[in-house]
């Protein structure tokens, strides 16, 4: 299925990509992120990273659906 992936902050700088549409068989954001780490050298499993699907915070093991937009957030640091 087709998924739109967006990288933020450090993730965006590491991958050099802000938005991409990928064809994936990953069932969850965790699997999708794993695919990305194989494609982009330097993209790591940060602890405390977060994921959102279609502008809602989500779990790493949430189900992905065709056309979802998946947002990968490195550890946040507001304030």
């Amino acid at each position: 299925m087709k998924i739109c992936v967006r990288f933020f902050a450090a993730f965006r700088e590491i991958t050099g990509v802000e938005t991409e549409v990928v064809e994936t068989t990953a069932a969850s954001p965790a699997g999708l992120f794993e695919e990305c780490t194989r494609r982009y050298a330097g993209l790591q499993n940060y602890s405390s990273s977060m994921v959102a699907i279609n502008d809602e915070m989500a779990q790493w093991d949430s189900m992905l659906s065709e056309g979802d937009e998946v947002l990968f957030f490195p550890p946040v640091a507001g304030g």
């Binding site: 933020f8 902050a9 450090a10 700088e13 965790a30 992120f33 794993e34 499993n45 940060y46 602890s47 405390s48 990273s49 977060m50 994921v51 959102a52 502008d55 809602e56 915070m57 779990q59 790493w60 093991d61 947002l71 957030f73 490195p74 550890p75 946040v76 640091a77 507001g78 304030g79």
Partner: protein, 156 residues
């Protein structure tokens, strides 16, 4: 005006405070996050906030609503900056008014604590030696993922 806002402009603290004034409130607690000239031993010159606004606004409003419900305070607002900030600029302001002070302190602290770990906001520091770096939320790195439903460790 919304209870939680993102601003690319300098925050007008006087206007912010006026929004929270309430004749039935005896207590007002405000937290300002200021841009500090150092972090973990390094001299900071300025910093930059990247904010993913659609979700930051949604999650920020949720945090404010939680605080009002949990502590029963009359009013609560917050503004977080985006973009480039200089030393001593206000990066974030949280204000809470309430009839009594105990709950105002508790709610204010809840809001800033949650904001720091739940909002999709990232901070890049620019150092005196010319380097720049994305800064992790220190507590997150130390404590692991304590973000409740909204967070998870990326599985290996």
């Amino acid at each position: 005006m919304n209870a939680f806002e993102i601003s690319s402009q300098m925050i007008d603290l006087e206007a912010f405070r006026r929004r929270l004034l309430n004749r039935s409130c005896g207590a007002y607690v405000q937290f300002d996050g200021w841009v500090r000239d150092h972090n973990e031993g390094r001299q900071v010159l300025r910093l930059e906030y990247e904010v993913y606004e659609p979700l930051a606004l949604k999650e920020g409003s949720r945090i404010i609503a939680e605080a009002k419900q949990r502590f029963g305070v009359s009013n609560a607002c917050a503004i977080h900056r985006s973009g480039l900030l200089e030393l001593s600029d206000v990066a974030v302001v949280v204000g809470v008014s309430s009839p009594h002070r105990g709950e105002a302190f508790d709610a204010c602290r809840y809001i800033i604590d949650q904001a720091k770990i739940r909002l999709p906001i990232w901070k890049k520091e620019y150092y005196a030696n010319g380097n720049e770096e994305w800064v992790n939320c220190q507590r997150c790195s130390e404590a692991g993922h304590e973000h409740g439903a909204v967070s998870a460790r990326v599985p290996r």
